[in-house]
């Protein structure tokens, strides 16, 4: 009796992804180069530097801040910022009494045009599970100690809307230009796990 056929090993994720892409290209469902173009765009155009520009503009121009808070998608478009995962963006504003933080408990949804692709810790189950449950303790572990008097609002990106945090402008920055202010704004601050 011959031995049963050995089960071939599982192909690596990279090989599986390229195999699927090639199968779809051969069927005319995906254009050749489309996946590469998207990857290039993700690396070059979707960046937290865009979110920083929007925040700095809102700090400098009160009328832009108003437009940002009433319709962030349209306000970002004024600066030429738009794209995938950016059809319905909402700015949530930090104040002296309220701190906002963003999560996607079910996957990793983020406002790509303003924040870029999400960092690994944002996609990891511990962050997703704990920030809705014990935001203050988790933020402290991540280096953000919030005063006990500060209320915390956690925004779960469970639907179509993509949020980002409008941080408070730091004191002592009156002399800085808009560009210099943008240089202060980090991706972590746009997610709400850091202050500026």
């Amino acid at each position: 009796m011959s031995a049963p056929h050995p089960t071939p090993p599982v192909a690596t994720p990279e090989r599986r992804a390229f195999a699927l892409r090639d199968a779809l290209v051969d069927r005319g469902l995906v254009e050749a180069g489309e996946a590469e173009a998207l990857a290039h765009r993700a690396a070059e155009e979707l960046s937290p530097a865009n979110g920083a520009r929007v925040v700095a503009r809102a700090w400098v121009y009160p009328d832009f801040r108003e437009r940002l808070l009433s319709n962030a998608t349209a306000a970002a478009k004024e600066l030429g910022i738009e794209g995938p995962e950016g059809r319905q963006m909402v700015a949530v504003e930090n104040t002296a009494t309220t701190h906002n933080v963003i999560v996607c408990t079910q996957c990793s949804c983020t406002a790509w045009p303003l924040l870029g692709l999400p960092p690994d810790w944002y996609k990891a189950p511990p962050y997703r599970a704990r920030v809705v449950r014990e935001a203050r303790a988790l933020l402290a572990e991540m280096g953000l100690q919030l005063p006990a008097t500060t209320n915390i609002r956690v925004w779960d990106t469970s639907g179509e809307t993509r949020y980002f945090v409008l941080p408070m402008r730091p004191q002592g920055t009156e002399h800085l230009t808009e560009e210099e202010l943008a240089g202060l704004v980090t991706r972590d601050a746009l997610i709400g796990v850091a202050r500026i």
Partner: protein, 146 residues
Amino acid sequence: MGARYYERMLTGVTTLLVEQGVVSLEDVEGRAGGRVPVSDPVAQLPVLQTENSEAREARFSPGDTVRVIAKATPGHTRCPAYARGKEGVIRLVYPLAYYPELRAHSTVKRREHSYAVEFAASHLWNDGDPSQTVLVELFESYLEAQ
């Protein structure tokens, strides 16, 4: 569950394309030069209301108290388990969007409003922080008036 984040997405997409007959598993495995794992079928497909009406006025307004339906449904949902059966307050009303359950498991595209609903963390969790709230985006079908 040992798979990494994008690997799980890859498996999900591959499963969908194979199940729908867009590509064959043999073809993909041949190109990959090895086995290509796919997910098991959903144990019980959800029973979906396929009525196609939409474009209604939003049923709820900011300030309304609502309760999230407690019943869990099989298959895809965007209603987090931790919010089921809980009471919250409508804060923002969002435009019509495709109802995720129908979009995931049928070819019916029906849109409805969704909302940012604010829940006290102390209501969601026994040991919840009284100074924390969680705002969840929930579709109208997930909500009941209180």
